[in-house]
């Protein structure tokens, strides 16, 4: 076995895994507080991607710059969905499954809206650095992928500070850990849930924008990434932020290994194999309970 190929594979797996981690971070945050899986998560990613695509093709905005549009936009969309579509279900004391079904419905609407607006075609953005690579010895990595990884790191760091150091962040963790006690502290649960859904959507919106320079966008891309986000969330331990990152990197590396050593066509299947193995041997996830 050629060592440099192995290192190359692991490196790109880790870099890609950072992006997977960011996608799952929003899902795990929402799960931690609301105890529901957001099945429209991949569709939020799709919105982030289309935002970058439009800004690039119509206004020549660099995909990395468009993050300043996609993040606030998805934050507002997330807030609106929680406030006007999910909150009424909570108020009516409907079971959690109904909320999950609602998110699935939102996902379908978004996918078909994209189909109507953008046609089923695949779009990419071609920038001057799209194919640029950075090399260290025999290892070469895609430059946009490397930047993505570093930006993911930065965003995760900001989220960490927000969750750990601000009163609102602490309140989010409090609601996740003991909702009745949080109420007794005077925390407005509804407000925290709205903010959490907004932040979760904003995170995946950022991930969509970061994905655009290295991937292509089409209306049905959402399902693929909802599934990946779900796998990563479960791999890491539902509701754990650190777990999302560990799970993301695990999935990234496994997929790249599969593509290199087994077959390109089987790389997604291998992700599921790991998923099932983790569920069998470590049902609480790789990291398990953590502070978020």
């Amino acid at each position: 076995m050629d060592l440099s190929i192995f290192i190359q594979t692991v490196t790109s797996g880790v870099l890609l895994g950072g992006l997977y981690g960011l996608i799952a971070l929003g899902m795990t945050l929402i799960f931690g507080v609301m105890r529901i899986i957001n099945l429209a998560h991949g569709e939020f990613l799709m919105i982030g991607m289309y935002v970058s695509y439009i800004l690039f093709t119509k206004f020549g905005v660099d995909p990395y710059v468009s993050i300043v549009v996609s993040v606030p936009l998805l934050f507002v969309i997330g807030i609106a969905i929680q406030r006007f579509l999910l909150m009424p279900l909570i108020k009516a004391k409907a079971p959690g499954e109904n909320q999950i079904l609602m998110t699935a419905g939102i996902g379908l609407v978004l996918t078909n809206a994209a189909l109507l607006i953008f046609s089923p075609n695949y779009f990419t953005v071609l920038t001057t650095y799209s194919n640029a690579t950075a090399s260290i010895g025999k290892i070469s990595v895609s430059l946009p992928l490397l930047w993505d990884f570093l930006i993911c790191f930065g965003i995760t760091g900001i989220l960490y500070l927000f969750i750990m150091k601000t009163d609102t962040g602490c309140s989010i963790r409090a609601v996740a850990q003991n909702i009745d006690s949080a109420r007794l502290m005077g925390i407005n649960i509804d407000r925290i849930m709205i903010i959490t859904f907004g932040v979760g959507a904003a995170l995946v919106g950022a991930a969509g924008t970061l994905l655009m320079p290295i991937f292509y966008v089409f209306p049905a891309i959402g399902e693929l990434f909802t599934l990946k986000a779900f796998i990563v969330t479960v791999l890491g331990g539902m509701g754990s932020a650190l777990g999302a990152l560990v799970g993301g990197v695990t999935l990234g590396v496994v997929e790249q290994m599969g593509a290199t050593y087994i077959s390109m066509a089987l790389k997604d299947a291998l992700g599921f194999v790991i998923f099932v193995l983790v569920l069998i041997f470590r049902p609480s996830g790789l990291v398990g309970k953590s502070r978020f």
Partner: protein
């Protein structure tokens, strides 16, 4: 401070509280005693609006709170220290205390209150950065009370603070409750430790099967024949 009138609370179809009425005067220490399942915790949850009451009226400092969201009750200066502590397990002692003071008024005085709480419970000061779920039972109870105090409450609801603690710790907790009350905070104490709580209470109410069956000053109840046989085992 607190007045409860004809309160009826249900769990589904099962009625847990029947026409409960009582008052807690300002700055007093009032205790509600009763056996397991009498509805003591239910009553406190109804006061802090964790539970919705079917009928009746609760007033806190003249504000009708029935029907408000629980966090609005906390805004009126009610801190409820629930049974079983209900801490935020994966947060540090410091973070638990911080969460206790997220409301604007409490936040403005966070540092000051924090000093008071550490003064009352020095052990919490020593364990600031320890996770709540790694504390001993007694320390957890102290943290739960401390977290309640961080709200700078006018009314403190304490649900079985001595439950499951070693006798020495029980004494310590009761001393602290007395101290808190002497600082001008009204206390409504729910206890199974009837002897201790009646000894220090200004007033006591007996809750049996969801109904208030008896009331009087702490001393009066202590010498009551029914209380003696039913609760003190004398």
């Amino acid at each position: 401070m607190l007045s409860v009138k004809c309160l009826n609370v249900f769990y589904g179809d099962a009625q847990a509280l029947w026409d409960v009425s009582f008052e807690v005067p300002e700055k007093k220490l009032v205790t509600i005693i009763g056996s397991n399942g009498a509805g003591k915790s239910t009553l406190l949850k109804a006061i802090s609006n964790l539970l919705v009451s079917r009928s009746g009226e609760i007033q806190i400092q003249g504000h009708v709170t029935t029907g408000l969201a629980a966090h609005h009750v906390a805004e009126l200066g009610v801190a409820h220290v629930p049974e079983g502590r209900q801490l935020f397990p994966l947060m540090t002692v410091m973070e638990n205390l911080r969460i206790g003071s997220v409301l604007p008024e409490a936040k403005a005085k966070r540092e000051e209150t924090l000093r008071e709480v550490f003064d009352l419970f020095p052990v919490l000061g020593e364990r600031q950065s320890q996770m709540a779920n790694t504390l001993s039972g007694g320390e957890q109870q102290m943290l739960a009370i401390g977290r309640g105090l961080m709200l700078r409450p006018k009314l403190l609801l304490l649900d079985e603070p001595s439950l499951g603690l070693a006798p020495m710790l029980v004494s310590q907790i009761f001393e602290v409750i007395k101290e808190i009350n002497s600082r001008g905070i009204t206390v409504l104490l729910v206890e199974q430790n009837v002897q201790r709580s009646l000894e220090m209470a200004d007033e006591g109410f007996v809750l049996e099967n969801g109904r208030i069956t008896m009331s009087g000053s702490g001393q009066e109840l202590l010498v009551n024949e029914h209380i003696k046989t039913a609760y003190l085992g004398l």
